[in-house]
Symmetry: C2
Subunit: 366 residues, 2 copies
């Protein structure tokens, strides 16, 4: 641990580490990658939950697979939700967001999402999963096949205190043995199976699903992701409320992906893509304008359910603290069966202010 | 001049002023607005060419006119080109770009664009004009009614050393008396004429023209601009080569304008707008991909004509120095009738590099 102590002292000096509170006490959270520790790493004394590393994206399937992936690989479905790592810390099982925050919502609902006896058998393992569904506090939009509440899709397993992931075969064995909810897997493939992979992606695209993550079938193998055209268009449409505050490349990146997808698949096969792209922008904004006229503000409403209503308050406080671009306002918190349903709005101040200014006939200098 | 000297010394201390060379000597150029002097102000000893002030934009015609414009006003056509100010400095007549550079191209071609005897009659006046056409060194795209070379459209007259513009009546009289090439004008109107103004804009939109600038008909009156939906779509289409290096709001601003236009005019009247928007993006990028495959780089080719070929070299040097985002490469300079035709490429390094990386199957982290 002397090594870790030294790294943490240095991270502290560079202001890359923050002290966080959770119901069980305190821990340290890495706000940026630092000396080999990824952003979002959570440190509980000597217990370390490594951050989930960024996965590179290819935008050309044929050349991308040949260039990036060697030998045998698996393709796992990429789910449109938010990334969590689930680990046992002392006598609690906690879910961490990508940034390394313990998530009051996901942690609260873990017993409904996964059989926690897994952590009795394997207290040293960390499940990496996508949480997705219509009722989460973070994501606008959801996979079409998750029609209510929230579900978990495990896609990797790490070991506490160790970087990297368990080998795929070990992960698949654990997933199957414990009946863990997991992402769909396809394979094994080699680069020669490009045609098969393309067909899977075509089908996912038609079903409105997000894409695939390709993982080399060897220890510490490489991994890259590829998303469907449908997912790029949907991302644009559902995020128009927040248009002004998304990163500059949010839209141009997705449009470039669409153009490269069209280029790879052929224009005939993608005839409707331009219309859908244009509509994503204009329908998204038209709905935004309607909302503004009706309610005088631009917002998204989120719903999510809790076992313990105290966690609802913790969640709102967390979002308020970590996302300064939005104004969070609770609509209601009420008992619904065995659970408590929280409804809240994220109000987008920049978009609200701009529309208010423009629709009154205001002037912009650009 | 004591006042000006003081301001200039302060501007110099704040690094807002630069010394520039032109064939007649040296002058000072304001790189940013400073203490009431606009960006692009050019200072020749005691002779001062004020910068052309920014004109605010309204995106709602009805509320915008009512809110921003009082009393009688004129609507002048907004031309899609680049802004120049033309002034007599000593025994030369020079054309300055928005940034305050003397433009080797425009200055060279002034005798073809305008009757320079204007400056013999009025040596103290500055003509503010849009230079536009298929053959300019700055602008991709051009007004559909300027089918060859370049033309000038005067829209304002200033006085050397004085801020603000001549009253509209005085300007129109000078334009008419001297037969100056000028933008089309419509009016006078009052806010009650919203319907008439909307009809003019609808017609301009159908003709593929850029829009209108509204100017109050009183000394130092306010002015605001409004652009057509067609112009927003065209801007997107013709600038996809340079997608990565345009300001973040370039695309979102135009999409928002389209949505507000659609909202004001009604969806039925704008049914084709979504398709055109999507095509602007995807066709623009598809053409970019074709170009990259053919030539291994992403670029725009510019053509422009000179009386004196030495000015062609000066122009290229100027562009190289002022636009670091592009790599400028001359294609040819040859005599064509009485003029010299320069052809050169602006190569967009960021887009070229990204496509090269992505099409080879490279990975991005986003």
């Amino acid at each position: 641990m002397a090594m870790l102590d030294k790294t943490l002292r240095a991270a502290h000096e560079h202001r890359k580490v923050r002290r966080e509170h959770y119901p069980g006490g305190e821990y340290l959270r890495l706000t940026d990658g630092f000396q080999g520790l990824p952003r979002g790493t959570a440190i509980f004394g000597e217990t370390l939950v490594y951050g989930y590393p960024q996965v590179g994206r290819i935008v050309r399937l044929d050349q991308g697979l040949r260039e990036q992936i060697q030998g045998s690989f698996w393709a796992e479905e990429k789910i449109d939700g938010y990334n969590v790592r689930i680990a046992r810390i002392g006598d609690r099982v906690l879910a961490f967001t990508r940034g390394g925050f313990d998530c009051p919502f996901t942690t609260d609902r873990l017993p409904d999402l996964i059989d926690l006896s897994f952590f009795e058998a394997h207290p040293d393992l960390v499940l990496c999963a996508e949480a997705a569904g219509p009722d989460t506090p973070y994501v606008v939009g959801h996979p079409p096949h998750v029609t209510e509440d929230v579900r978990l899709f495990v896609f990797d397993i790490m070991r506490l205190g160790a970087p990297g992931f368990l080998p795929l075969s070990e992960k698949y064995a654990l997933v199957d043995t414990h009946g863990l909810p997991a992402v769909d897997r396809f394979g094994p493939f080699t680069a020669r199976d490009y045609g098969k992979v393309r067909d899977i992606l075509r089908e996912l695209n038609e079903k409105g699903r997000e894409g695939l993550v390709f993982k080399e079938d060897r220890p510490n193998g490489r991994r890259v992701k590829y998303v469907t055209a449908d997912s790029s268009v949907t991302d644009i449409e559902v995020n128009m409320h927040d248009m002004l505050q998304l990163p500059p490349a949010y839209f141009t990146g997705r449009i470039l992906r669409l153009a490269l997808f069209e280029d790879e698949v052929g224009r005939e096969a993608t005839a409707e893509l331009a219309g859908r792209l244009g509509e994503a922008f204009l329908d998204g904004l038209s709905e935004t304008l309607e909302q503004f006229r009706r309610d005088r503000r631009v917002y998204d409403t989120f719903r999510c359910r809790f076992r313990d209503p105290a966690n609802a308050a913790r969640l709102l406080e967390r979002i308020r603290r970590s996302d300064r671009r939005v104004h969070v306002s609770q609509r209601r918190l009420l008992k619904e069966g065995d659970l408590y349903l929280l409804e809240f709005d994220k109000v987008y101040d920049a978009m609200t202010g701009l529309l208010n200014h423009l629709l009154k006939g205001g002037v912009v200098y650009d």
